[in-house]
Subunit: 485 residues, 2 copies
């Protein structure tokens, strides 16, 4: 699967299968290849060589998929940028990766791209519309290099400075095949992508589709009404969502059960409250909570379809997981420790390895906290950066959140540490209230927790908010919570 | 997927899924692993080391699967022997592979094994029943070597002397993943194995099941009535057959349509007559004719589920195919030539590479004849060894057979060359007659051919026979045809 560009192999084997649907447009693999060759030829005349970095500031859509494959045809590296960043923020990944071109559309993002390129030395802004329709040019034939970077993805940066994860072609192939064996794959699969394609979860849908010969149904943005309609109308078999998206989808869906075609809902972007999974399961949604990492090409561990326990995640075939203490020693499996991950899906290194995430023996230190049971199933407790240490005791926000999520009046909840003179930190909670119910009182919530948690884990304050601050990937921005008065 | 023995990884991830069903017995993966560890411990006490060859003369059944995984746990090489060979024939692969143990059951095959071991120097016969129930012993922990031989399979030997194809763990993993992407895989899959497990087609079902975490439903032998019943009763989703087996199954099935659970019928072991495929398709059987090779770990090219043309076979992902002339030059795709195959599924070499099948640049010269169309789809014409050269013209038996198979009175047909003073060779035909019809005359069949074939392709004789001579894999033994008077 690595000897020629993916779109070339795929268009040869199944030229007339649907590759991508977006809005009113549908491309089969032959047409997607034709457009990608077209753009690749235009990029080649602009001097793009194998190994050069082509950045893109593009919304979800056909241009994104065409450019992805054009870069692959040239042996170039694709750098999809987070469209929600400011021009000032965007200059960092462009400079760090020494990108040469910044491809953009002719919408307001195009203006942002022009502004960005103006302040990024050596980066030329290029409208992708001007590349389409380039006359056919013979592209140089060269075998693809399986270990050179296929894409660079900057991690979402909820903590510290973004880092460029270099993902190779073989990382993506390993991820696609492991996911297929874990979740199943059928030639008639149709995977709905309503998450940003610039994140690894969305990008993987495009790459898996071309490797599987299946269809990607791309929505420009997450709209729960549109997703709801697509489920019933478009024969969707696979769906990737965050917990927040799932909650909004269920609100729209009401009591209508999941369509029979839907085989798997991958739920990523952080822990999901168990009551939400239960609500979805009641409607027949095949929810598969997933622990994923940009650095491991998305899925690391995913609940199996026949797994009874909703939060028990099984490692994908070929992925190894260890739980390690601060001294780097493997923990007894029942004790929470740092999650380390190894396997063919894991990147070799960040673009500029800064020494803050060394990988002895190929192990990626994730910074996340979890346990493994005797059967090797992973339970994710929290992001290490979110760990609250209170009076010498560790408090894992996810545990407190799970308890509060059981309260009938609470829709969404996040817990973070706040400074405390006596204990160093104390947990505090921010929540949204279910529609049709009034805000519960602090007394009521404290009482609710007291029945279920040790004293040091009970939040010192509970604040009702309109919505929780989140990254574009759907992760709660805990440092932003503390700014809410 | 290569870091530990397959059964160990699988039993850890999905211990309670069904691994294998055979007759009244059902084993889940935990129990299959327990039995395999048991036998592995017993083999270790008998001195079996990594790299040693463990031969097996076993019928389809649980013992076969247990021994396969026991060998893998020890890093030993598994040599499944064709149970239909005579003791005299069996001594060749045992000697050629330097096998140390010959495992057998306590049936009549056991007696054959004892006879065989008696005349094979250095080979000890061992009843597998005596190994079961061995006390648990800690097995040495060592990483599996992906390129060392996992199994040695002697090719069926329709021509010349059998050769031992050395198939590595990575060959099998590549084959399993490529097949999954080509044909689809679901966690609830149940693959019916009614072909001999000692051939690559049957063995692959066991290996794929453990890699996929799916169930193998094993029949001791092909019985069309039993297969027919299993299709309706046992939720079979995948089925591997030869053309002859399919014909017999359809005879039993009558007008009952295929069950909705059946997703894919892999049809291997040689070309299949188009009318048979059409008959099966009318009943809703999803027939996927397959070109496979022992040397390439089974499937090389398989019809896609959405392929309109019944004999157009698409290469599996990652498999490369070339058509080459006698001088080793790539042919224009419309001209028949030798099929060469390359990819991660292809063995590195035969056990004793005899120089009669060199593999420049990793290309396996198959000896088979085919063409590729512009889309890269393979059409298999014939086994090269069966090519009839008549008066300087090439006659491909499969082409003549396909024409004769269209005759309403003919059930099965085979064509081979017979010596001819004037032309060197001339084609001749042997056939079986459909039940309820009388043998067609030579005049009638000659007339039938004359309307459809050039003169030099028309058989000089047509003989009605009770059945066609076949190998245990279902291939017609053409050299035996010529002995039929």
């Amino acid at each position: 699967m690595l000897t020629s560009p993916w779109i070339e192999s795929r268009a040869r084997i199944t030229p007339h299968r649907i590759a991508i649907e977006c809005g009113e447009e549908t491309l089969d693999y032959a047409e997607l290849e034709r457009r990608a060759r077209n753009v690749a030829a235009a990029l080649a005349t602009r001097g793009i060589q194998p190994g050069d970095v082509c950045a893109a500031l593009l919304p979800n859509g056909l241009h994104f998929a065409v450019l992805l494959h054009a870069a692959d045809l040239l042996g170039a590296t694709f750098l999809p940028l987070n469209t929600r960043l400011t021009p000032r923020e965007l200059t960092y990944p462009l400079g760090d990766s020494a990108a040469r071109l910044l491809l953009h559309g002719d919408d307001e993002l195009g203006e942002k791209a022009l502004l960005t390129a103006g302040s990024a030395p050596g980066v030329e802004a290029q409208s992708i519309a001007a590349l389409v329709g380039h006359p056919d040019v013979e592209l140089p034939q060269r075998p693809q290099d399986p270990v050179s970077p296929f894409a660079i993805l900057y991690t979402s940066g909820t903590t510290g400075r973004p880092k460029g994860a270099c993902l190779s072609r073989s990382n993506f192939v390993a991820s696609a095949t492991a996911s297929a064996l874990h979740c199943g794959v059928l030639p008639e699969d149709r995977w709905l992508a309503c998450m940003p394609l610039f994140h690894v979860g969305g990008l993987s849908i495009l790459v898996r589709s071309v490797l599987y010969g299946t269809a990607a149904v791309v929505h420009e943005r997450f709209d729960p009404v549109a997703v709801d309609a697509a489920l019933d109308r478009d024969g969707i078999t696979l769906l990737s969502l965050t917990a927040t998206m799932l909650a909004r989808l269920l609100e729209v869906r009401g009591s209508r059960s999941a369509p029979g075609s839907l085989r798997c809902v991958l739920l990523g972007g952080g822990p999901c409250p168990a009551p939400l999974i239960a609500d979805a399961a009641k409607l027949g949604f095949p929810i598969m909570p997933t622990y994923g990492l940009t650095e491991a090409c998305s899925q690391v561990a995913t609940r199996l379809v026949d797994e009874a326990e909703p939060t028990a995640l099984s490692p994908l075939p070929g992925v190894e997981i260890r739980i390690v203490d601060d001294a780097g020693k493997s923990m007894p499996s029942t004790h929470p420790g740092e999650i380390w991950v190894r396997g063919e899906t894991v990147m070799r290194s960040y673009l500029t390895q800064r020494g803050d995430n060394p990988r002895p023996d190929g192990w990626l230190r994730t910074g996340d906290i979890g346990t493994l049971d005797a059967q090797g199933r992973l339970y994710v407790h929290d992001r290490r950066s979110d760990l609250i240490i209170s009076g010498g005791e560790n408090v894992y926000p996810a545990e407190v959140e799970a308890v509060l999520a059981e309260h009938p009046a609470i829709a969404e909840v996040a817990v973070a540490g706040v400074p405390d003179a006596s204990f160093g930190q104390r947990p505090a909670a921010w929540f949204t209230t279910r529609s049709g119910t009034s805000d519960p009182s602090t007394e009521e919530l404290t009482h609710h927790c007291r029945e279920r948690l040790a004293g040091f884990k009970i939040p010192v304050s509970f604040r009702a908010v309109g919505q929780l601050p989140r990254t574009s990937a759907g992760k709660v921005l805990r440092r932003e919570l503390r700014k809410i008065e």
